[in-house]
Symmetry: C2
């Protein structure tokens, strides 16, 4: 019995997900024998509807330095989860000049993303887990060039500029944190349709381009998100935050804080619950309370630069489209300016923008030469044409 | 060791999927100890990126007579898999008059579909596994009223008409098959954008309405699919087929065959592989070959009724947008008119439209009174207003 159970576990962990477990067992022509104690699994394995297996969809993929779930419908990663710290970042054995973009042979060709989908599309093959975070070994670096880690990003003004600065901001959290966990992924945000729903509520529409060749098209995300969790104080506390940016050129002067979003809102549009082992409802709510303040302050700063700027992207958790914007306190975004309440202190979770300055590195920081041989963003490897 | 492995199995089978397994283990504050033999699972459990768990997305849900995967992003089922046969259909203990539409309490409220999303939306709460297929017990009937089994369908002209006749066509396969397995789900098909991609290829866009309240919006599918697998000849052979219909009023005279699609094409736009335990590549290819003939014949029939009708919905597996349409043979859609080749005969799989007549039951067949107390489609229970 123990051996058979281990086999079941292995099938799940091998990167195929729960739906594939049954497939695996069927392929082995094994009758699943699970003790009554197994409950749910026994119920699934013996369910009369499952004689010929469950449909197989998204794939879980394990790489040396990151884990990804790949969305076989939109042919984009659903999420990419990586771990970095000072020690890993200090490594210099991986060189991106030796890495090539590769299709993920662990996914059937008709479901994976393909080199030809990107070719001449006008979009960059944008890393979700950045290559610059994984220089500790050549294998780790190579792994970040798997197309399972890529999504079609607008190059000029986004992937090669604002987003690159944002990636560096996240990497720099390691200066103030021991271990940093980062989830990155594409997002498909609906927009107001201009019409109303039948019941009079505002109407919404999902709309985004698809590239490649039908029926195996790949979606072009409207936005990208990152959720970060940086442990500090020996693991007793953590800085947490979520940011959402549009997949389009972003004015380099836009304050980072204006892209802060409540984790709840992001979770609800992404259909994902992030860091379930850490973010209890209470912790998420505490961090989200600060996120709304950060967002409001960032938006106020943005309005000073651009009086007509649109309000923040994601609605507040209560469903209102425009969160209540408190009167901003000038300079309130520096660390310590938002002292945690007693309750939040007891939970151990603070917002990223309370723990570090909510500012991006300078434009084209990589030209300053501080990054070592792989520190620069090797733009010459981005072969795609600039976006139309 | 055996007990711990069983716990792992149970967590997977309990309906949370692979991603949730780790979460479960973290919640138990257990360190996962898996023997090296467990391979993949051990790798996932010990991957340094997964300290705080994987993101939790789609949910696997087990009901008495069907299994469903729920898409927590689009708040629609991704697929619903049911099993029917003559014996189950003969049951009369379930009465839809005693069933109520209910939210699925097995999914957190912010990720599930809600009664209020449908209220006044103009869309029906459309069953994926039809209530009429699950009358053997009240529990089975009640289970089909879970919102996890629902998707927003256009009522008049579709859910209450053409789709209802299609559901009956599928049910009637039990007259010629022993056990019938049916996968039903929403589909989101891109359309030509009118523009071109940067490389000169035709442009495509995904576009569909969203209903409800942000950020917890629910998608309105552009289409619906069914994939059916009916065993016959004591299980030695099977009739297989896939159909895709638009979520809009359909002219009742439209030939069913014109909605036949190659399973490969459907799989590639849905991001799912169907019946993996039965449909080997060879079997799928054999059935798809016939599906293209069926589709072409159906389209030719349609063109006789409507000279300007648009070509079939889904492209051929080779990626061409309009499959090569062979010259139709009049009356070729009756059973036996498409004799299986020797190769296909040896594989045991034929197309549904080779095994039964590819014709829907009459319009408003339920008014003929042949369906017993639950045979009719109880339109009075559909409280939604007709679509705008």
């Amino acid at each position: 019995m123990a051996v058979r159970q281990i086999i079941i576990g292995a099938a799940v962990g091998a990167g195929l997900g729960g739906a594939a477990t049954f497939f695996y067992l069927r392929q082995q022509q094994q009758r699943v024998a699970v003790a009554p104690a197994a409950g749910g699994f026994a119920a699934a394995a013996s369910h009369p509807a499952l004689k010929w297996g469950m449909p197989v969809g998204d794939r879980l993929r394990l790489f040396s330095d990151y884990v990804a779930s790949f969305d076989t419908r939109l042919r984009n990663p659903r999420w990419v989860l990586e771990h970095i710290n000072r020690e890993r970042l200090a490594g210099r054995d991986g060189n991106r000049q030796n890495s090539e973009f590769v299709e993920d042979s662990g996914i059937e060709r008709r479901f994976r993303s393909k080199l030809e989908d990107y070719k001449g599309s006008g979009y960059d093959r944008g890393h979700m887990a950045p290559a610059a975070n994984h220089k500790a070994s050549q294998q780790a670096m190579d792994d970040t060039f798997s197309l399972t880690n890529m999504s079609p990003q607008v190059g000029a003004g986004f992937n090669r500029d604002y987003w690159a600065r944002f990636e560096r901001f996240v990497q720099d959290l390691c200066k103030r944190c021991d271990d940093v966990y980062i989830i990155t992924g594409p997002l498909f945000l609906p927009q107001r349709s201009g019409a109303t729903q039948a019941n009079g509520a505002p109407g919404f529409v999902m709309q985004h381009p698809m590239i490649g060749t039908p029926p195996q098209l790949m979606a072009v995300p409207t936005h990208y998100y990152k959720v970060v969790l940086g442990e500090f104080s020996g693991g007793r506390r953590a800085a947490v935050g979520a940011f959402v940016m549009p997949n389009q050129p972003i004015d380099p002067d836009t304050p980072l804080a204006s892209f802060a979003v409540p984790i709840s809102s992001l979770e609800e549009v992404a259909g994902l619950r992030f860091f379930p082992g850490y973010l209890s409802d209470a912790r998420r709510e505490a961090v989200d309370e600060t996120a709304l303040v950060v967002q409001s302050l960032g938006f106020a700063e943005l309005r000073k630069l651009k009086p007509g700027a649109a309000p923040p992207l994601l609605p507040a958790p209560d469903g209102s489209l425009q969160p209540p914007l408190p009167v901003p306190t000038p300079g309130a975004l520096s660390p310590g300016a938002l002292p945690p309440t007693d309750q939040r202190r007891s939970l151990g979770a603070v917002h990223v923008c309370e723990h570090t300055e909510c500012r991006l590195p300078a434009e084209r920081f990589w030209e300053a030469g501080g990054g070592g041989k792989n520190g620069g963003r090797a733009l010459r490897r981005t072969r795609s044409a600039p976006p139309a």
